[in-house]
Every structure is written in structure tokens, then in C-alpha cells.
């Protein structure tokens, strides 16, 4: 077996500069506010404060209180108002301070946002974006660390994305704002400043529904998304040092998700290890595993491995132990390789 070290797609073309993930989000928001007067931005503390993570810093000063504003502390109001605005032709981008707080807005997301187009026979549409920091690794306890994406991937009518690089964060957010469907845009908060990368200076979008092959390989497919990606890449590097060629796929979009990219990879490598930090039961990766066995069964040399969070609430202490770090990922890879 030979390890391949080259980075695969996407490689930004043209002039670029290095920024972090949260800067990429701020840039995307600023550019979309600038591009389209229908774009409005709101949520709790997003105005003068610039959001608790500063994702909207400076935007109210630049675009005014009519377009960037604070709302009452009410997720049902924030999401619901976004539905009403979207139905009226605006392009609302709502921030929910933490994904853990989406509960009070859940009915608005699943009953209103996700279904308005369908139930009205296409007479009304709901092009909104809900941005929300998610995932652990910031010592936040369970109400600042959960990964609730599966609730939303289970709801037809919603698109669900989660970037892990500044390039994707900016391109996916722009695509979400310009799209015609409601998008839940999860931001892996532990990567806000930890993930740095090259981002083009020119306008671009990343198509929702396309995975990125971060690293090409031949022996095993490591598939993840969001906050786990740096650890997935570290595990792939460690495998490479041992002469194992791991292919790394970042799903980027969960609904729709890039089945072809995953199936193609597994058909090439014969082994798959799926990595996410959400609890195991009902984890989105269960769907990925199902599709792999359905479409690439004959290629499989080992059972599909899964590394996930535990089926417990997210703990405050030992939160790094809760997360699937490189060691747990490597152990799953070894099991697959030795099968």
C-alpha cells in the first residue's frame, strides 16, 4: 500500500488570501448584503454586539438597523419571522445563537419553513437561511455543544449544510442565501478560529450537495463533516505514516448529500469509516452507511465503521474525550483494515 499525500478538491483559483472560518462567514454575509437589498440579517445580539461569536461584527454599522438587527430573545420568533419575510420576497438570514437553542424554533422550522412550498403547491416559497453554531470542543456543556443536525436532515424540504473550511464556509453560505430553499447552516464553532485557509478574493459559491475529496487514497475511505474534519485529516496523516493510503471525504452538505462521491470512493478503497460527533443512534452517518451497503456492497472488504459521539448528553468536563478524536478514528480504521 502506498500513501498519497496530495490534497484533492477544492483548490481555490485566482487571487486568494488566508482567513479563518468565522471571517469567511462575515465576508459572505457582508458581500450578500451588499449584492442584494432583499437580504436582511437578524437574531439575538447580532446588531451592535456583532453576535456572541462576532460573526456579524460591523455589519449593522455598515448596512444599518433596517437590515441588520437584534430581535427579542425568542427562537420561535426569529425563525417564524424569517418564514414570513421569505414568503414576502425577502432573503432573511437568521442567527440562532447556539444550535442547542433551536428547540423553541423547531416547530417553525419543520412545520412552516420546510413545508410552505410543498403544502401550498408551490404558490409560496421560503428561501431563508438559519445560521447556527453547533458542535462541541469549547467547554460549553450540553447546551452549547450539541450536534442536532439529524433532526433537520430528517425533515424533507430543508437543506442542511456544515462546512469545515473557510473556503466552504463562504461559498456554501453564499449559495444558501442565493438559493430558493430553506437552509439550515450549521457552523462548527470550535473551528471558527482554528480553521484557516485560502479563500478567493473574487465572488464564488460552493454548490450545496457536493462533497469535497480532501485527500485521495486507495486503502480506506474516511468520511466526515464539520468539526471532526481536522481530526479526520490527522488520522489520515497518521495512517499515511504507517503506509496506509486513506481517502478523506468532507461531505459539506448533508441534505442533499453526495452519494456518488462516497460510493465512488468506497468502490475504490473497499473500506469506509464514518466520523461525526453527534450521538450514535439516529446519526446522519447511519444513512451514509446504508447507502454504502446498498450501492457498494460488492466492493466492501470490511464492515462499514462508524465513530460518533456517545448516546449521552454532552458533558462539560471530558468533552474532548466525548468527541471522536484521532485515536478513536484510528482504532476504527485499524478494525476495518484488519477485518
Amino acid at each position: 500500500m502506498t500513501a498519497t499525500q496530495e490534497k484533492a478538491t477544492p483548490t481555490p483559483v485566482g487571487e486568494t488570501r488566508t482567513i479563518n472560518l468565522i471571517q469567511a462567514i462575515t465576508e459572505a454575509l457582508a458581500e450578500e448584503l451588499d449584492r442584494d437589498h432583499r437580504v436582511v440579517l437578524f437574531g439575538e445580539d447580532v446588531g451592535a454586539r456583532g453576535g456572541v461569536f462576532m460573526a456579524t461584527a460591523g455589519l449593522q454599522a455598515r448596512f444599518g438597523r433596517e437590515r441588520v438587527f437584534d430581535t427579542p430573545l425568542s427562537e420561535a420568533s426569529i425563525v417564524g419571522a424569517a418564514v414570513g419575510m421569505a414568503a414576502r420576497g425577502l432573503r432573511p438570514v437568521a442567527e440562532i445563537q447556539f444550535a442547542d437553542y433551536m428547540g423553541p424554533g423547531f416547530d417553525q422550522i419543520i412545520s412552516q419553513a420546510a413545508k410552505l412550498r410543498y403544502r401550498s403547491g408551490g404558490q409560496f416559497t421560503c428561501p431563508l437561511v438559519i445560521r447556527t453554531p453547533s458542535g462541541g470542543g469549547v467547554k460549553g456543556g450540553h447546551h452549547h455543544s450539541q450536534s442536532p443536525e439529524a433532526y433537520y436532515t430528517h425533515t424533507p424540504g430543508l437543506k442542511v449544510v456544515m462546512p469545515s473550511t473557510p473556503y466552504d464556509a463562504k461559498g456554501l453560505l453564499k449559495a444558501a442565501i442565493r438559493g430558493e430553499d430553506p437552509v439550515i447552516y450549521f457552523e462548527p464553532k470550535r473551528l471558527y478560529r482554528a480553521s484557516k485557509g485560502e479563500v478567493p478574493t473574487h465572488d464564488y459559491t460552493v454548490r450545496i450537495g457536493e462533497a469535497a475529496v480532501r485527500r485521495e487514497g486507495t486503502d480506506l475511505s474516511l468520511i466526515g463533516y464539520g468539526g471532526v474534519m481536522p481530526d479526520v485529516e490527522r488520522a489520515a496523516e497518521a495512517l499515511g505514516a504507517e503506509g496506509v493510503s486513506a481517502e478523506v471525504i468532507d461531505l459539506r452538505s448533508l441534505v442533499p448529500w453526495d452519494q456518488d462521491a462516497v460510493v465512488r470512493s468506497v468502490q475504490k478503497t473497499g473500506r469506509a469509516v464514518l466520523v461525526s460527533e453527534a450521538p450514535r443512534i439516529g446519526n446522519f452517518m447511519g444513512e451514509v452507511a446504508y447507502v454504502i451497503q446498498e450501492r457498494a456492497f460488492d466492493s466492501l472488504l470490511a464492515p462499514v465503521g462508524q465513530v460518533a459521539g456517545f448516546d449521552t448528553p454532552y458533558p462539560y468536563v471530558q468533552d474532548r474525550v466525548y468527541l471522536p478524536g484521532p485515536n478513536r478514528i484510528l482504532a476504527a480504521c485499524v478494525r476495518a483494515l484488519n477485518h
Binding site: V40, E66, T71, P72, S74, A76, S77, V79, G80, A81, A82, V83, G84, M85, A86, A87, R88, G89, L90, P92, P104, D107, Q108, S111, Q112, K115, L116, R117, Y118, R119, S120, G121, G122, Q123, F124, T125, P156, G157, K159, G179, E180, D181, G209, V255, P256, W257, Q259, D260
Partner: protein, 369 residues
């Protein structure tokens, strides 16, 4: 001047049809007759749709008999096709009065190809983009925060449309109701909230719903006026709703109107028999005597412009004919085929839905072969 926060419902026409307040000039006999026609038409629509239900041609119906003055009066206070409506599921009288064609309502109840909602929703959950009558959700009060957002968008866009949001008394217990009222108040959004207080949420009475003496006084908590009106008095409903709508339209922020009325029928066909277990015949009898159509007829009589039995019978017969024709016309369009399952989920069909649609197509074609 119409005052908010009055302890008793504002009334113009007493239960015996005698004006208790001077009738505003615009309520000419001609207008009153038009209102009578609209209310009677809605009442007969109810009757005919219940017949369809019994015939098994539709599966659900939530009648609004007894609430005609509230819904017709509200519709007449708005600019139909101009103002936006986020309604609730018992609003077909409101829809008819705002100009939603009876044919479309019937098509939606039958789930035919002529249904603008394409057979996606259970009966009685229609939508009309042409009339800005936004889709109804069964999830109680979930239209309230979007209505606040709709009004906020309105303010941002800067035109003189307003948003109207209707709901029953039960909806005012939901978190979404408080969230939406608060959002509209905090943003001074041009939204008119109308509570059609028919006093029963299925089998839960309004006294089990809230310890508050009335719904309308809750408006104060959200920084908006709350008006209380006799919802069976169409003159009062129109006067109060028009006043509140005008206030909203000129930019003075949102308002709430509580129309005190009564659903004389069951919640839906689902509790047609159970209804007798949760309320007394006496209670229903009291409200039947307060019937809004009857009251308007008494007023017309008082004004020396009675509706003759022949006129009434002709109107009823005409509505029945219209419903019958629309039912046949709608049924003739057939039912949407399997494709409607996959369309309008997203703006474009994603590949996983393409695959699922292809599998179903093969299954359907196999079944036909």
C-alpha cells in the same frame, strides 16, 4: 372613536336586531343585504360540504357556522388581494369573502387536479397566492410568528399593505402566539391579529384555556391595543376591524381584535358525536339564539327592509347549485398522480429524490402493466 380594552364586547346591533349604537352611515340597506348574502352563502357552503363528507367525497371538514359575522366582517375590513392573510384552518368563510373562488376551495377539499395546493394538504387547508391568502398549517398558532415577519417585511418594503393573522382562542395558549405577538409589538410591525374566539378548542373550553378574563386584554402586554367586539354583530365587527386595520395601515403598530363568537357545530367531523359530551344543549341553544345571520335579518326587518322567505330560499338554492356544479367540475379534473409526491419539496429535484421518484415510477408502471 372606538376604544380598546373595553370590559364588554363592543356591540352596534342588539340580539333582537335593534341598534344599540347609531348605525354608521355606510351601513345602508344595500350593504347590509350584501353582507347577509355573503353570510348565508358561507352557511350553505358549510351545509353542502358536510353532505360531501357524509357521501365520502372528502375526508375532513371544519365548519364555521355561527362565526360568519366575524369572518365576513373581517374580510370586508381589509383590502382583498392587497393585504396579506395568514389564516387558520376554520377560515373558509373569510377566504370566500376575500374572493377565493368557491371552486378552488372545493377543489382543495377534494384534492383534485384543480386544487392549487396540488392535493398535498388535508381538506380545508387551502392557499391562494393570487389573493395573498397564505397556506394554512394544522400546527396551532404556527402562523403567528410568520405573520409578524410578513409585517416586518412589509415595513421594510415600505408599501401600504398590512398583514392579517387569524387564530382561535386555543391558539393563544401556544408559545408561538406569545412569540409572534411580542415580535410584532417589539418591531411595531403592521400586523392585525384577529382572535376568532369561538370558545372551544375541540373539547377544551376557553375557561380551561386561560385564567385571563378575556383574550383582548393580553394585547397590552405586547404594547398594542386590544379591541373586544361582539363577533356575532357584523356591524360591530366591521367597525372595529376597519378601525384597527386603519390604525395598523397608517403605521401605528400592530393591534389585536378579539371577536367573541361561537362555533355552533362540532370542531370537525372527527368530534361530531363526541361534541355532545363536552358542552350542553342549553349552551348551544343560547348561542343559536344569537345567530349572526338571524340578527342581521332582524336588523333589516327593523329597518323596514326585510329579507323575504323567497329571497332567502333563492339564495340558498343558488349556493347549493354553485357547490354542486363546482364539485362535479373539480371531480372531473381527476386526482393528481404520483408525481406530486416529489414536486415542490425543493425548488429543484435533488438526486436522492430523483432516485426515489424513478423507483416509484417503475413500481407504478409495473402495477399498470
Amino acid at each position: 372613536m372606538i376604544d380598546p380594552h373595553t370590559p364588554d364586547p363592543i356591540q352596534y346591533v342588539g340580539e333582537d336586531g335593534t341598534p344599540v349604537l347609531a348605525l354608521p352611515e355606510r351601513f345602508t340597506p344595500a350593504l347590509l343585504r350584501e353582507l347577509h348574502r355573503d353570510m348565508l352563502r358561507a352557511r350553505e357552503f358549510d351545509r353542502k360540504l358536510i353532505t360531501l363528507l357524509r357521501q365520502g367525497r372528502t375526508t375532513f371538514y371544519a365548519q364555521s357556522s355561527g362565526m360568519e359575522a366575524t369572518q365576513v366582517g373581517l374580510a370586508r375590513s381589509l383590502r382583498a388581494g392587497h393585504d396579506w392573510v395568514w389564516p387558520y384552518y376554520r377560515d373558509h368563510t373569510l377566504a370566500l369573502s376575500m374572493g377565493v373562488p368557491m371552486y378552488e376551495l372545493i377543489s382543495q377539499c377534494l384534492g383534485t387536479n384543480s386544487d392549487p395546493c396540488r392535493g398535498r394538504q388535508m381538506p380545508h387547508h387551502f392557499a391562494s397566492a393570487a389573493l395573498k391568502f397564505v397556506s394554512i398549517s394544522s400546527s396551532i398558532a404556527s402562523q403567528v410568528p410568520p405573520a409578524a415577519g410578513s409585517a416586518m417585511a412589509q415595513k421594510y418594503l415600505g408599501t401600504d399593505e398590512i398583514t392579517v393573522c387569524t387564530f382561535g382562542d386555543g391558539a393563544t395558549s401556544e408559545g408561538d402566539w406569545h412569540a409572534g405577538m411580542n415580535m410584532a409589538g417589539a418591531n411595531q410591525a403592521p400586523c392585525l391579529f384577529v382572535c376568532e374566539n369561538n370558545q372551544w378548542a375541540i373539547s377544551t373550553g376557553v375557561r380551561q384555556q386561560t385564567a385571563s378574563a378575556t383574550i383582548h386584554i393580553k394585547a397590552q402586554a405586547y404594547g398594542m391595543p386590544g379591541y373586544y367586539v361582539d363577533g356575532n354583530d357584523i356591524v360591530a365587527v366591521m367597525e372595529v376591524c376597519a378601525h384597527a386595520a386603519e390604525r395598523v395601515r397608517r403605521g401605528d403598530g400592530p393591534a389585536l381584535v378579539e371577536c367573541l363568537t361561537y362555533r355552533v357545530g362540532s370542531h370537525s367531523n372527527a368530534d361530531a358525536d363526541a361534541e355532545k359530551q363536552y358542552r350542553t344543549r342549553e349552551e348551544v341553544g343560547v348561542w343559536l339564539a344569537r345567530d349572526p345571520i338571524l340578527r342581521l335579518e332582524k336588523l333589516l326587518e327593523h329597518l323596514g327592509e326585510p329579507v323575504s322567505p323567497e329571497e332567502r330560499a333563492a339564495l340558498i338554492a343558488q349556493t347549493h347549485r354553485e357547490v354542486d356544479q363546482d364539485v362535479l367540475r373539480a371531480e372531473a379534473t381527476g386526482q393528481p398522480d404520483w408525481r406530486i409526491i416529489f414536486e415542490d419539496v425543493y425548488a429543484d429535484l435533488p438526486s436522492h429524490l430523483r432516485d426515489q421518484a424513478a423507483a416509484l415510477r417503475a413500481e407504478q408502471e409495473g402495477a399498470r402493466a
